[in-house]
């Protein structure tokens, strides 16, 4: 009996459980494709011996808080980390950006844009193969385009295609390696092709678009064409990729790393410990108050760069106490945002005055300082607007006796947003405004603010992640006031006109002037109190070399990461 127990324990430890890595899905689709991948990889390894260079080899581990929710299925992906893995790790995009955000060739060797800006012709590389050995060609591009522009797929970033000709009419296969896409002229039209990874037609062509999200391709057996080949995924635990020996020599050939592992660790203290004990090489997005530990430790360095994100408090202007732009301006002026950046972000961030991030070409240095902390001016502005403390309770009222009192909602489990709401409350009391922080569970909060006929909030702390192609149509254009994201209920004909012109202006110099004008309007309107653009941080072990991370992404040059040979 005792022996049986011991051997059971050993069996349990050695055998079952999801942590083994080698989890092979029993889905028929996976059973069919994985042997083909193995066979092609074995052949590719034999044909492309590892170059004689000490940089080749080893396993790098990245730890992050969240699962790659949508996996490698680019057609249904909305999660930013998943998208980066499609772009840079497992799949390929038609083009990518250089450090100045200028498009450069990737899967497409070159492209021609028609003189009237109504079509793009992509010329594809001829040496890219899917990881099962099939050629990547123009049919894959056409298939991906038709799929993501099909409403049945429910591609989350459908705004990408607002000015494109959707469906099969929008795309022409000229020959096996040439494909043309049709559009109406608009600003920054190449931007979607930076993030949209191309999917394999030969594997997914038969799948009905509405079933793509449930298809095992995404999280159980993706077959990409990028620098890293999918090996295994165990849910909530890890993704394992290995180097693709058949990756085109013209793009640098096989990556230096033998294996790349993405680990999901939901607790930040654990992540920091794993980084400092050298169990992971990269800790994605540490909290600002952990940054100093990473800087101080000789084993690690801290990467820091401007991120495409901003945090703000959105005001529901449908509420009588928040309807007047002067009141919203006074709220912004009465909040010391600079101190919040120092205190909350330890200085890892910049105060925001609009949604145009500092790294962007449309960013205007002058405008960025236009609203500053000034409680005296805020009080005066409130007096002019007719709000003064008539009953001596410390809170201002208007002539009808309505107190200047409102709630500021934030989602639970997000410390920095809670801090924003609480600091705001403390500072606004000084100018006679009663702002009450209120915590709401995430999905419930989304329902309260997104449902057009509900809008059950006064103010809400939120964040947006923007693309390089900025587009505030959904946020501030009056035509979309009944759509989920018109939180502020802004209805300003001048803003409408500028948003429309910005969307159709392809010339950058002209656009800069328009953006300036637009930002001035937004600052005067104050639909949001813009708070800050947080910097993106990454903790990296010093043994991992060649790492470049910037606004384009954390994984952007994973092909060139290598491990210090002395520390392997």
């Amino acid at each position: 009996m005792k022996k049986l127990f011991v051997s059971t324990v050993v069996f349990v430890l050695a055998g079952c459980g999801g942590g083994d890595g080698a989890v092979v899905s029993n889905e028929p689709f996976c059973q069919a494709v994985l042997p083909a991948v193995d066979a092609f990889m074995a052949r590719a390894r034999a044909e492309n011996p590892v170059p004689d260079d000490p940089r080749y080899g080893g396993t790098a581990v990245v730890g992050s808080i969240g699962e790659l929710a949508d996996g490698m299925n680019a057609a249904v992906s909305s999660d930013a980390t998943s998208t980066q893995h499609q772009q840079f790790v497992n799949l390929m995009t038609l083009l990518d950006y250089d450090e100045n955000a200028v498009p450069r060739p990737y899967l497409a060797e070159s492209w021609d844009i028609s003189d009237d800006n109504t079509s793009i012709t992509f010329h594809l590389r001829r040496d890219v193969r899917w990881h099962d050995g099939e050629q990547t060609d123009a049919h894959d591009v056409a298939f991906t385009y038709v799929t993501v522009t099909n409403p049945l797929t429910a591609f989350p970033n459908s705004a990408f295609w607002d000015h494109y000709v959707k469906g099969a009419e929008g795309v022409e296969v000229i020959d096996d390696f040439t494909v043309r896409i049709h559009l109406r002229p608009h600003a920054e039209f190449l931007d979607p092709f930076r993030t949209l990874a191309i999917l394999p037609e030969h594997l997914l062509g038969d799948v009905p678009p509405e079933q793509l999200k449930q298809h095992p391709y995404g999280t159980q057996c993706p077959v990409g064409n990028g620098p890293f080949v999918f090996v295994s995924h165990s849910a909530q635990d890890r993704w394992v990729f290995q180097a693709n020996p058949a990756f085109p020599a013209g793009l640098g050939g096989r990556p230096y790393l033998d294996r790349y592992v993405y680990r999901i660790i939901p607790e930040q203290t654990t992540l920091l410990t794993e980084l400092l004990t050298e169990n992971i090489d990269v800790y994605v997005a540490p909290a600002p108050d952990q940054a100093q530990r990473i800087v101080d430790d000789p084993r690690t360095t801290l990467m820091r760069y401007p991120y495409r994100q901003y945090v703000f408090v959105g005001w529901n202007a449908r509420r009588p106490q928040l309807a007047d732009p002067r009141v919203r301006m006074a709220i912004t002026m009465g909040t010391d945002r600079g101190r919040i950046v120092q205190a909350l972000l330890q200085g890892y961030g910049t105060v925001a005055n609009s949604g145009v991030p500092p790294f962007h070409w449309a960013f205007d240095e002058e405008l960025s300082g236009s609203v500053t902390y000034d409680p005296t001016a805020a009080r005066a502005l409130l007096e002019t607007a007719g709000w003064s403390d008539r009953d001596g309770d410390g809170i201002r009222e208007n002539a009808d006796g309505l107190p200047l009192s409102f709630s500021v909602k934030y989602n639970n489990g997000n410390q920095s947003r809670q801090d924003v709401a609480e600091i705001m409350q403390a500072q606004l009391v000084d100018i006679g405004i009663d702002a009450r922080p209120q915590v709401v569970e995430w999905a419930t909060l989304l329902q309260q603010i997104n449902t057009p006929d509900l809008r059950d909030f006064d103010g809400v702390v939120m964040g947006w992640v923007v693309e390089y192609k900025l587009d505030d149509m959904d946020l501030f254009h009056s035509a979309r006031i009944d759509q989920p994201y018109a939180w502020s209920g802004t209805s300003n004909p001048e803003i409408d006109r500028l948003l429309e012109r910005l969307n159709s202006t392809t010339d950058r110099d002209e656009a800069i002037t328009l953006w300036r004008e637009y930002q001035q309007l937004v600052i005067a309107e104050q639909p949001y109190t813009f708070f800050y653009f947080p910097d993106r941080l990454d903790g990296v072990n010093v043994r991992l070399k060649g790492v470049v991370m910037d606004t384009r992404g954390d994984w952007l040059n994973i092909r060139e990461w290598y491990l210090d040979p002395a520390s392997r």
Partner: protein
């Protein structure tokens, strides 16, 4: 006895179904739905409606309930929204991990709890008894998530980087990243190393409680006549304690197994989050926040099933070890 077990089993069917029904309506009537979490600007209303239809959420809740119940009775738990896989596959991947963790924690908690409680009772009011009481109370009053963080800081971070201990434990995961390249013995060692911290955090709190119960139960037994008789007939202390007293003192402890299993499962939620253990508790927790209804339903169903089973087993064991108890 068989009749009793069958009767209890029959009784647990409506119980489990009732739990599942309550959970179904609680979860489905909670505000928000999974499509809201997938929304992003630029997505128009038709896309949202399409997603809802793709998830089957365009139907009224009572129709969904009937469909869900019907499917579940045939063993079909549906499709997870967030994992994009059949729910049963999701659960099959994570349930064993939680069972490994809780089984180890349970065994360790009971073995150490029983041993410590016995020692305390036998040496009642000694310095050792008082010291142990204080230490156990310290662990008993500590929230397990905080204990977990302290264990990570001391036995992982400080042990490796500051104190230079020869042994330190990995702070997260079930296996190392090179697990599949290790030898058989190496794999076992890898697994054990990863089990230490989560098992400790989960079991220390339980151990403290069990030891208190055990001490009380043992004290009651050692005062009884048959123990005095054993002493009187000259049996050595060891035999009296382990052969005569301990067996009888263990009887009430068995009920604790049934009582502690739900505590253990709720404890695993925190422990799995902190130690990145890919288990059921974490899956369920994430599913609730993502409004992944099918996973929440199936997960709570399995937990309910296990708790009901554990209680049944405890009750049956009770009758097995104590001949005075008979179920009719």
């Amino acid at each position: 006895m068989t009749k009793y077990i069958l009767w209890r089993l029959a009784g647990s069917v409506p119980l489990v179904l009732g739990i599942a029904t309550i959970i179904f309506f609680l979860v489905n009537l909670a505000p928000g739905d999974p499509t809201l979490l997938l929304l992003s600007p630029g997505m128009n209303q038709e896309v949202v409606e399409q997603m809802r239809a793709n998830f089957g959420l365009d139907q009224p809740v009572y129709i969904r309930y009937v469909k869900w119940l019907g499917a579940m009775l045939t063993g079909d738990f549906g499709y997870s929204f967030s994992h994009s896989r059949p729910v049963l596959e999701v659960i099959k991947g994570v349930l064993p991990n939680t069972l490994i963790l809780s089984a180890f924690a349970l065994v360790i908690a009971f073995v150490t709890g029983i041993v410590l409680g016995t020692i305390q009772a036998v040496r009642q009011y000694s310095l050792m008894d008082s010291t142990m009481s204080v230490v156990l109370l310290f662990f008993y009053s500590m929230p397990s998530f905080w204990l977990a963080l302290m264990l990570i800081l001391s036995l992982s971070l400080y042990a490796r980087n500051v104190w230079d201990w020869p042994i330190w434990f990995p702070a997260s995961g079930m296996t190392g990243v090179d697990h599949e390249f290790l030898s058989f013995a190496g794999r076992i060692q890898d697994r054990v190393m990863h089990l230490v911290l989560p098992t400790l955090s989960l079991s220390l709190v339980l151990t403290a409680g069990i030891a208190r119960y055990m001490r009380a139960s043992m004290l009651e037994v050692v005062r009884q006549d048959f123990v005095r008789t054993a002493h009187a007939k000259g049996l050595p202390e060891r035999v009296v304690v382990f052969k005569h007293a301990l067996r009888n003192a263990l009887i009430p402890i068995i009920t604790l197994v049934g009582l502690y299993i739900p505590v253990l499962f709720s404890g695993t939620v925190f422990i799995e989050m902190i130690f990145a253990w890919p288990g059921m508790g974490r899956t369920l927790f994430d599913a609730i926040f993502q409004r992944d209804y099918p996973v929440v339903m199936a997960g709570t169903f399995f937990f309910a099933l296990m708790v009901v089973t554990a209680n049944l087993v405890a009750d049956v064991l009770y009758a097995v070890v104590d001949p005075r108890i008979r179920y009719e």
